[in-house]
Amino acid sequence: MRTWPAAFLAATVLLTTACGSSGDNGGSNAANFDPNPTGTLSAWGFDNADDVGKARMDYAAKQLTGVKIQMDQTGFDAQKFTTRLASGNVPDVVQMDREYVATYAAQGLIQPLEKCFSANKVDPKERWYPSVVGDVTYKNQVWAVPQFYQPPAILLNKTVMDAAGVPADDIDPSQPDKLLAAVAKMYKSSGGVPTTLGFNPQATGQAYLWIVGMGGKLVGDNGAPTLDDPSNVYGLELLKKITDAQGGFAKYKSFTDAFDVFGDKNQFVKNQVGAEVDAQWYPNVLSPYQSTLKLAAVPFKGKDGKPVTVATGSSFVIPAKAKNPSAGCKWALALTDEGSWDAAGAARAQTVQQKHSINTGLFTGSPAADKSLRDKYVKPSGNPGFDQVISTFYDVVSTGKSVGSSPAGQALKQELTNAITAALLGQKSAQQALADAQKATMTAYKNVTGA
């Protein structure tokens, strides 16, 4: 009976050794991309596709005549992706958040796309905004085909602001004193609990905007995290002042968590916010309530007083062991060309017409497509407030800053959120919280890169 543990361990060591002797069968091999692919394409993405997604998939399928497309229309799941890679059941193209791209690139699990672009005569710098390409660039190589860029700006609820006598110019993060005075005028509470926020900064949801937009730096050379960079403290301390002025972070967070964001009792309809940082897609959610809302928007301004925006988005990557990378490349590029976006624009226009709603535009990540769709489909709605909101988002899109891509991207975001939470709760100073976050992210960075 005593011999079996020893035998078990011996077998384990033998197995380890045996596995260790197996050959390196690639992982960083960049494929040659044929611009006229054939065969079968195994694609993973477009979970719960809407009118825009369906129109783009139809368009892309027509560009790949002779290719049979097999879709796995589920959301990206790191565990599932890992399992598929380990089992050899590797998709040819995968849709994932841009924040994940450098992580998989550093592991050699996806391939750089320079050859994909050149074979299909696509110049990434021409097709996408610089900040969008920056999100998927790691070690001077582009690793993904990006899509969408929905920048945040500040939505103003004029009903609350007018009642408090707050002009739009006062909602300016570059002038903290003015902003905090405006917040104090609009903030209301009952029993110590907020009932109306003067300004919802989306403290954790728009963490990148508050740090990078305020002049901070989260990613350094080769994607190494720089959360403890002194320039990151300013944005975090300003966030603390804003949440402290509105009942403190805990009550602020619980209040915003209870918002009916997508429903007909949303925070604007119920006048629960005077102003709020929101991404470009949110006016689309609010458009059914145009008759009851008095909306306006201003750009988010950085420490230097200039408009700035920071957003990430999704992208398509091609796994290193993809069986048909040419088809994956062609499909991803077809999905992001002007024809695809035009089809999407037409589908969205039809949906808007059916719902008697407002076309707030599509923010594709590509300057040419954005302009084309705006010219063709975004017309005066008859609601000057909404039109000004739409126009503001179009104005800020060119002010985008990239966070930079890091192999520890997921850990970086998580640790930054943890640091913000700890600092805003008053558990740690901003410097200490960021220093602790840097330490943890650096460990993740070393794990992923093997540094």
């Binding site: 890992t82 968590d257 913000i420």
Partner: protein, 306 residues
């Protein structure tokens, strides 16, 4: 003159065979689906595994040494231990309380049994969505209820000090599996024992401690072991309440062992480290279970024992 004693056989062959037949589906499932992966994870725990190249290189005990150097392993283990110490006794008490209520129910017993078992059938994601509303520090029903008694409830989901208790509350929602086991045990307690105790003048409390508890000690023992194992593996509740997306406010206070293991494996591709974590947890649970069995044998009454 030597005295020969015949050692009584504890179980007869037919009973043993029946026992093996009853557990055979699990044994077969374990051998087909679990045993191989367990061995493979043990192998990985002694190696550096590269997913891109599918190459494993021997690492000796490096991954296990790394566990000692990583402060978050201790933090997550401490959080998990705290949770287990808080959750297991509360779950046992709550499940037993519900089972006692259902045991006494006569009219509509089937209806109530079904209703109380429904939470077990509800997907964890749906349960978590409800609890995100219930536990909201400003407007959640739990704090509204506490306010009724003049108590200002905590910020369950934001204040690090209350994150673990909030997960315990969510776990209590799912005790119906434990409750059913208790209920089955309660139904097996011979009624004549209570009748005799009543004749001797025993009250409800005396009957509970002198008859009910000893007679259901087998079920109690089983539930304690199972709930302890579950508590150390807690993942779903913590992940859904606090780690579901990277924009959600959270803290190390909600970092449980299984959550950290998941992060190491699928966020940082540190498979050897994650496998070592899994095996350390296995050993911890094995030791705990052995201790529980040793202690339990002193207190547990088995009806079929000879």
């Amino acid at each position: 003159m030597a005295q020969t004693t015949l050692k009584p056989r504890k179980y007869n062959r037919r009973e043993a065979l029946a026992g093996y037949l009853f557990i055979s589906p699990w044994i077969i499932g374990f051998l087909i689906f679990t045993a191989g992966t367990m061995v493979y994870s043990l192998v990985i725990s002694f190696s550096r595994y590269n997913l891109a190249t599918n190459v494993m290189r021997p690492a000796g005990l490096d991954n296990y040494r790394a566990l000692l150097d990583d402060p978050r392993v201790a933090t997550s283990l401490g959080n998990t231990l705290f949770y287990a110490v808080l959750a297991v006794p509360l779950e046992i008490c709550f499940a037993l309380f519900l089972a006692l209520l259902l045991d006494r129910a006569t009219r509509g017993a089937g209806f109530f049994r079904t209703v109380y078992y429904l939470p077990k059938m509800t997907p964890m994601v749906a349960t978590a969505s409800i609890f995100l509303l219930l536990l909201n520090g400003n407007s959640g029903a739990i704090n509204q209820g506490l306010r009724f008694f003049g108590i200002h409830g905590p910020q369950w989901l934001v204040d690090p000090a209350w994150m673990k208790p909030s997960i315990v509350i969510m776990s209590l929602w799912g005790v119906s599996g434990t409750m059913v086991i208790f209920l089955a045990a309660l139904k097996n307690v011979p009624r004549d024992l209570y009748e005799v105790a009543s004749l001797d003048g025993a009250g409800p409390v005396r009957k509970f401690f002198s008859i009910t508890l000893p007679m259901i000690s087998g079920a109690m023992f089983f539930n304690v072991i199972i709930l302890t194992i579950y508590a150390f593996q807690v993942f779903d509740q913590a992940f859904l309440l606090f780690w579901r997306d990277q924009n959600n406010a959270t803290s190390e206070s909600a970092l449980f062992y299984a959550v950290y293991l998941f992060q190491q494996a699928f966020r940082e591709f540190n498979f050897g480290f994650a496998a070592a974590m899994a095996w350390v947890l296995f050993v911890i649970l094995l030791v705990l279970s052995i201790i529980q069995v040793k202690l339990g044998n002193r207190f547990v009454y088995y009806e079929g024992e000879r």
